[in-house]
Symmetry: C2
Subunit: 694 residues, 2 copies
């Protein structure tokens, strides 16, 4: 705690408002019959402090660019946020609270991004929100660097803070630890994370599974750490809001470290028998317990959803304060915009997520080349070419930059300069990201970056390790966030590292995720076209599956070879049969060359085959049926697919009469040519399958 902190005005009306919050939480869960009342009750003063005192926000404009960000990582306690949105005057009514967890309501079980105004992030899967907050804090710095780098800290319209609240569960999950470690490296002074240390999770007393010294762990990560104990060491519970306020003030004063506040609480306080119990975490308290709590707090036990006029009148002043703050900010912003017309134009473009005219004029193209280029290399060349045009595009790797080719040439790292190394020059406002060997945090951090608003992050690892980040990928798809994954080493084609590193089931498993585009380019030119298409989408995450090994570059636009721009259609005839095709060979990525060879072998035997490159099934499915039928005619039932992964899902494409050349087991450690041969992913196998299918 610092001395000289501005003291907090906290009147009896504030206290009554906080008690109102607790009872609304209990009533809302009781009404629907399920949900999580306990934390919403005990965190009522904390959430109220945020929305009524700490946060710079404008309830009349939830998207105000100058707002502080608030993330409720413990999304199961969604009422913690919903009730504050209601009190502060966001578009949220008492009826919405009464509709908790019902069809079509503003108040789903967990907070949902793009659904409830004022909710910045979809949370619920634990640990994610902590990492999202780290991503937001990083993005805030990057965006400031793009728009207003030279203004003193704290004086730019792009200075704001990120606040997050985490539960025990959030901090047990590895993803939060990964992200918090990185936040320490990045010295994110704009981030404050509160831990609701109530020693209760669903299995009740956390002593069975969580005995570590969490505060010491955060200190080890390099965070500024404070503890506020409302239990007074177990001697008596006092909600000392002033002490918490002071801790927040002290946190803001530390600008070179993220801040961690351990707040010791009692869950479901002050419910007479439910407080401190696991039962209050995830179940309705029951009518009797709620009535007793109301009585205890001086509320009418026979009424529900009580919000006295003086309370709502008081809390709705948050709107006036927000509007005033917004207006004051607007003046600073307008002055900046006038002084920085280029910055203002950039901001407008980034806000709309538009690409600049002509951004892709100088992208690389590749001539026919039998030896070819690895698609991961072409991806790296794309990034180097695009980076100067697209400052919003930034990213890096989970410690595999050299393998994933994620570093655009000549660009500085996003890193405190004192963490520069012989290989990487750090700049507070740099753009090359070093996630460390933390794929899961990488995914969740990128989600937070996109949610912050202006940038387009990408992150790389080996495709097999997409498994490590899968929960974050799902959340990107669910929230329609334009994150790009650069997943290289996309098959047994990586060779010697063996089965632990060779994805076999991953393309199928990723295609199963609704709202995720999975793109596996067949050569260098397809890779450039794929990136171009990906950046044209603003409403979904995209996954690039790229080869480690060189792939031949096909001739384009000559002798019947299609241009690579057809990639945007998801699938296209790369090279057609001579005359009517007898069979269609469909393939992706590194196996397209095998289909091409098989076509030649078949031709030598008088069988005419069309080769369809299908880099992205999702894009293909979005084409109209006439286009789709022109590529894969329904009446032509002789079809073969070839992909170095499981067959799962390919029957959709090849149909009953088709054949699938696939890999139904794990790989092995050897050079990749041997593996393709031993595992039968060969032109001969495709030829045999084609004959079988015809």
């Amino acid at each position: 705690m610092t001395s000289g902190t501005p003291s907090l005005e906290w009147t009896d009306l504030d206290k009554k408002a906080v008690d109102t919050v607790r009872l609304l939480a209990a009533d809302a869960v009781q009404k629907v019959g399920n949900g999580h009342p306990g934390t919403a009750m005990s965190l009522a003063p904390v959430a109220y402090l945020h929305y009524q005192r700490l946060l710079r926000h404008d309830p009349t404009d939830p998207h105000w660019a100058g707002r502080d960000r608030f993330i409720l990582s413990c999304g199961h306690s969604s009422l913690t946020q919903y009730i504050q949105l209601y009190l502060a005057g966001y578009p949220m009514t008492l009826d919405d609270l009464k509709s908790l967890r019902t069809w079509g309501s503003q108040t789903p079980g967990h907070p949902e991004y793009n659904h409830t105004p004022g909710v910045e992030v979809t949370t619920g899967p634990l640990g994610q929100g902590v990492a999202n907050a780290v991503g937001m804090a990083m993005a805030a710095r990057r965006e400031r660097g793009l728009l207003d780098p030279s203004t003193a800290n704290g004086e730019s319209p792009f200075d704001h803070r990120v606040y997050a609240i985490a539960s025990d569960g959030d901090l047990q999950e590895g993803v939060s630890g990964e992200a918090s470690s990185l936040a320490g490296v990045q010295k994110l002074g704009n981030l404050t994370l509160l831990w609701d240390d109530n020693k209760i999770s669903i299995e009740d007393d956390t002593n069975v599974a969580f005995t570590e010294d969490v505060a010491a762990r955060y200190a080890a990560y390099g965070w500024h750490v404070q503890t506020v104990d409302w239990t007074n060491g177990g001697t008596g519970y006092v909600e000392d809001v002033q002490a918490l306020w002071e801790a927040y003030q002290a946190a803001e004063a530390v600008t070179d470290k993220p801040s961690f506040i351990q707040l010791r609480t009692i869950i479901a306080w002050p419910a007479p028998t439910a407080q401190g119990t696991g039962g209050s975490h995830g179940s309705a308290l029951g009518a009797d317990e709620i009535a007793a709590t109301k009585e205890l707090l001086g509320f009418d036990p026979d009424k529900s959803f009580i919000v006295d006029d003086d309370v709502i009148e008081h809390t709705r002043k948050a709107r006036d304060r927000g509007v005033a703050e917004h207006e004051a900010w607007q003046k600073t912003f307008d002055a900046w915009a006038t002084a920085s017309p280029d910055g203002a134009a950039l901001l407008e473009r980034l806000t709309k997520r538009q690409l600049p005219d002509g951004w892709d004029a100088d992208l690389p193209t590749y001539p026919e080349d039998a030896k070819g280029v690895a698609t991961r290399v072409a991806s790296g060349e794309f990034l180097s070419a695009a980076a100067p045009q697209l400052p919003e595009l930034w990213g890096g790797s989970a410690d595999l930059a050299g393998s994933n080719n994620t570093t655009p040439k000549g660009e500085p790292s996003f890193l405190p300069p004192e963490h520069s190394t012989a290989k990487f020059q750090g700049d507070w406002y740099g753009r090359v990201l070093h996630f460390g060997i933390r794929e899961h945090a990488m995914g969740a951090i990128m989600n937070g970056m996109v949610q912050h608003g202006l940038t387009r992050p990408y992150g790389g690892t080996f495709l097999v390790f997409s498994d490590y980040m899968r929960p974050a990928v799902r959340l990107a798809a669910l929230q329609e966030l334009p994150v790009t994954y650069v997943w290289t080493h996309d098959s047994i084609g990586l060779g010697e590292d063996g089965p632990t590193h060779q994805p076999v089931e991953h393309l199928a498993a990723l295609r199963a995720i609704p709202g995720l585009d999975v793109i596996r380019p067949a050569d260098a030119n397809e890779t450039i076209a794929a990136w171009r298409t990906v950046l044209g989408h603003t409403d979904r995450p995209s996954a690039l599956a790229l080869s480690r090994q060189n792939l031949p570059t096909f001739p384009r636009g000559t002798d019947g070879w299609a241009p690579a721009s057809d990639v945007a259609k998801g699938a296209y005839t790369l090279i057609d049969a001579d005359g009517e095709p007898d069979v269609i060979l469909v393939s992706t990525g590194s196996e397209v060359q095998i289909a091409v060879k098989a076509r030649e072998q078949l031709a030598a035997e008088g069988i005419s085959a069309r080769v369809v490159s299908m880099p992205c099934r999702e894009w293909f499915e979005q084409q109209d049926s006439s286009y789709r039928d022109s590529v894969i005619p329904p009446q032509l039932r002789a079809r073969v697919s070839v992909e170095a992964g499981v067959a799962f899902g390919w029957r959709d494409v090849v149909g009953d009469a088709g054949r699938i050349v696939s890999l139904e087991h794990y790989g092995a450690s050897a050079d990749y040519e041997t593996l393709y041969d031993k595992f039968g992913i060969t032109a001969d196998a495709v030829v045999a399958a084609a004959k079988d299918s015809i």
Copy 2:
């Protein structure tokens, strides 16, 4: 460091042997042209210390039950282990080392369980090995508790230690943090983890991403922490093996905490220019650098794979020591076996992974019941019934015990008694596991438990959070480990928690994993039959997908309803059409009741439908074709599948003419009846699809 530690004899010949190891590592990578030489070089004295001094092991019997366990979590440095296996006299030759990373060799890129004698665990995906080691240390305690609980610590034939070596990458991964936190809770005094702190990962200097105080973090987890600095604060590199030895002795002396040893090293030591570089991590050093290193160490620079006779003669004495230790242990063991015939019989049964005769005599059966039982509840009742018969069966949940129904009645928790809570009684040798909100560690810990040898662990969470543990699930499948996942809340049927908690793509994504059985029972009796079948398998992991909501219990063995024992076939005709079927309705889990209703509606319209319950596609695919064709006749092309998840993969079952009733988007927060209705997973939809298909 403790005083009075037995001093270590470390002769010039030992030093020469260690240098031999370094050069073998460099040569092996150079020969194949790719791999990871740096860590194998600098860790040579550490690995040598393990295999020649620390470990109790018998190279002539890699499966000796009394052995200490060694896990190389940084599996990319597989040579660290292979070379020691060779020197110590395991079935590993110099030619094997020369065949590194080539087809069919004993020395794949990463260590592989069940492939190379002496390798306890497949490692490579970082962080997993740390968690596997935690699982092994837990299993060692449980197994001791089953077989020899009353003997004093250190005097039982079932006392041994678990050693693991981790790299920077292992400790950046969240899974290792999760597992290490739990190891602190569990006070695993039999576990020692060494951190090779070389400040180098693939992106070179770890200062860009890893600046935390790792030792302090481990202290915060409740570990005993020591630091040995071979760099002497950067003043000069001295491989002080004595100091490291003393640290290991001190670690063993602490019996109520796991031990963490931070060892500061320089990667690729003493290669003159490659030492301390990121390049040495994952690339061959080059002929010149290797020659220079050989010269520096007094070896002939023109020779490769140098192993002098005095070296191999010296190191192979490990065999004699191992045989002698094994013989001494055998006496203790025999004495135990004589004194504990029941224990000996149990050990024999568990070693063979056999189930006891009649173990399933009293499993629950359920009468027809329209209201029915949730399959998660039936699963819990199975566990309560089976637990007394099967002491090897143990498990718990990632903090969702009450929801996953993973706690057998009346069983104590596996937990230091001082961590007992009001809800859970702790016992050092208990069987109920509390993983905390750490799904990923749960998965990896269970792998380590199985690898330790005798027990059958299970672990629960919500199906949607299978994503959090997916890398560990894959490794269980790759290693053919009989782990069982209890994944409840298996669809939108969980209701109000909404899209973050509702699995939609997960069944498909899990079915894509080779070697994993995915089982989704349709009612209580199928659940019991599923568990019975799962426990009969010893060579694969199994995933149970169980409902939150009640499901009707079908009448069994009457009026044409099949017995639930047919579950073992993966799919079966639950209730046939009256006469020849016009259409086949295939379904899983909670949607089988919908197919049953649709069958009735169709019958009312004169259309006869067969209902096939398909709880496990993998089991069905293992049946012979005559059985499969009897259930789904190839000529009957009118088929409908219904499952509350994505269609992906169902075309295999229904064929071109079939129809798939599925869910191609995320769920929502509402009661489950509303969701099924709004999303069209209904009998009406199945009826319409059936007519469409006919």
